[in-house]
């Protein structure tokens, strides 16, 4: 039996911020430490996956403030994310122990948690990020992909299309938020097919159009199963998708040996792994 342990509370405590992840699935992924951050906070801000999850969070703390109302159709997401930082920092500066709760991992595809920690630390406040189980973690389990087997590249879809990124078709390629291609705000519907055709045009430089791709969504409620669909690359523009869905392309080519480096390793082996004389 472990004795009750507690740190005495300090008078005139300075504000602080902890950003934690709920994980992806309600009830399944929340770590004991993330729950403790939530329960010990003075105020909790919530950027979670849906209203049911938010109600679950409200059972853990009496002052949960949703970040959802700050989104707006036509309003740049960048404005929304800056507002979230400002909201959290206002409470930190007021001396509160603040917890920012985000679904999945608070530091994966999440600008505001990283930013609020950066700002808080710059102003001398204690700031911490606690990892959570991300959609990427669920993807590896549900699709049976080991990033160590072939390697794995990840890109946010707009960055992939708008910037000159190097694709390695011998590795898995994971494209996030494909339905948000060309949408700088938020939207109830996915982008027109013409935008996604640009993505297919870009991918067709490295993959055949008949290449089978997987469209994946992790379960967020424990009565759901992961949603996994397979389509040909050429059909991606006309396949309806939701913003939380991820597109995964398996390798299209086998890896090639690099004979030059192999020779260099063999030369080093002769020096460092030579048999020791008896």
């Amino acid at each position: 039996m472990v004795a009750s342990l507690s740190i005495p509370s300090e008078g005139n405590a300075r504000g602080s911020i902890a950003c934690v992840g709920l994980g992806m699935t309600l009830g399944s992924h929340l770590t004991p430490l993330a729950r403790s951050h939530i329960e010990q906070a003075d105020v909790v801000f919530a950027g979670v996956s849906d209203a049911v999850v938010e109600k679950w969070l409200q059972r853990m703390h009496g002052d949960v403030r949703s970040l959802q109302p700050y989104y707006g159709e036509g309003k740049p997401r960048s404005d929304t994310y800056q507002e979230w930082v400002d909201l959290m920092m206002a409470e930190v500066r007021a001396g509160k122990k603040v917890c920012g709760v985000f679904y999945g991992h608070p530091g994966v595809f999440a600008w505001s948690p990283h930013k609020v920690i950066e700002v808080a630390r710059a102003e001398g406040y204690q700031a911490h990020m606690e990892p959570g189980i991300s959609a990427e973690d669920c993807l590896y389990a549900d699709l049976g992909i080991d990033p160590g087997s072939h390697g794995c590249q990840h890109f946010e879809v707009n960055q992939f299309v708008l910037c000159k990124r190097q694709v390695d078709p011998t590795a898995h390629l994971v494209l996030w938020q494909v339905a948000m291609l060309g949408i700088p705000s938020v939207s109830r519907s996915d982008a027109p097919a013409a935008y996604r055709q640009l993505l297919v045009d870009r991918l067709s430089r490295d993959y055949p159009l008949e290449h089978q791709v997987t469209i994946y969504r992790a379960a967020t409620l424990p009565v759901e199963r992961p949603r996994i669909r397979k389509v040909a690359l050429r059909d991606l523009p006309t396949t309806p998708m939701t913003p939380e869905e991820t597109v995964v392309l398996p390798p299209a080519k086998a890896v090639e040996r690099d004979e030059d480096f192999i020779r260099q390793v063999e030369a080093l082996d002769k020096i460092y792994k030579a048999p020791v004389p008896a």
């Binding site: 309600l26 009830g27 740049p76 938020q177 700088p184 913003p243």
Partner: protein
Amino acid sequence: MADTIELLEAIGRDASLRHATADALAAVLERAKASHALTAAAATGDSAHLKKEFDYRLDHVTQSSQTFPIML
């Protein structure tokens, strides 16, 4: 009627419930006097059934695209 959030949390943290067949889970929930919405969601695997019970709003996906805040 049993509390839906408590039941969801119980399913989420229990290995046999989380991976039960839809029929088996729906039967368990009926015996537990779960709401019709939750039982239907479990039976079909479709959380849309919970919309009415929670006055469900369609949330925007948070942690969305990072390119636009960075590039613009």
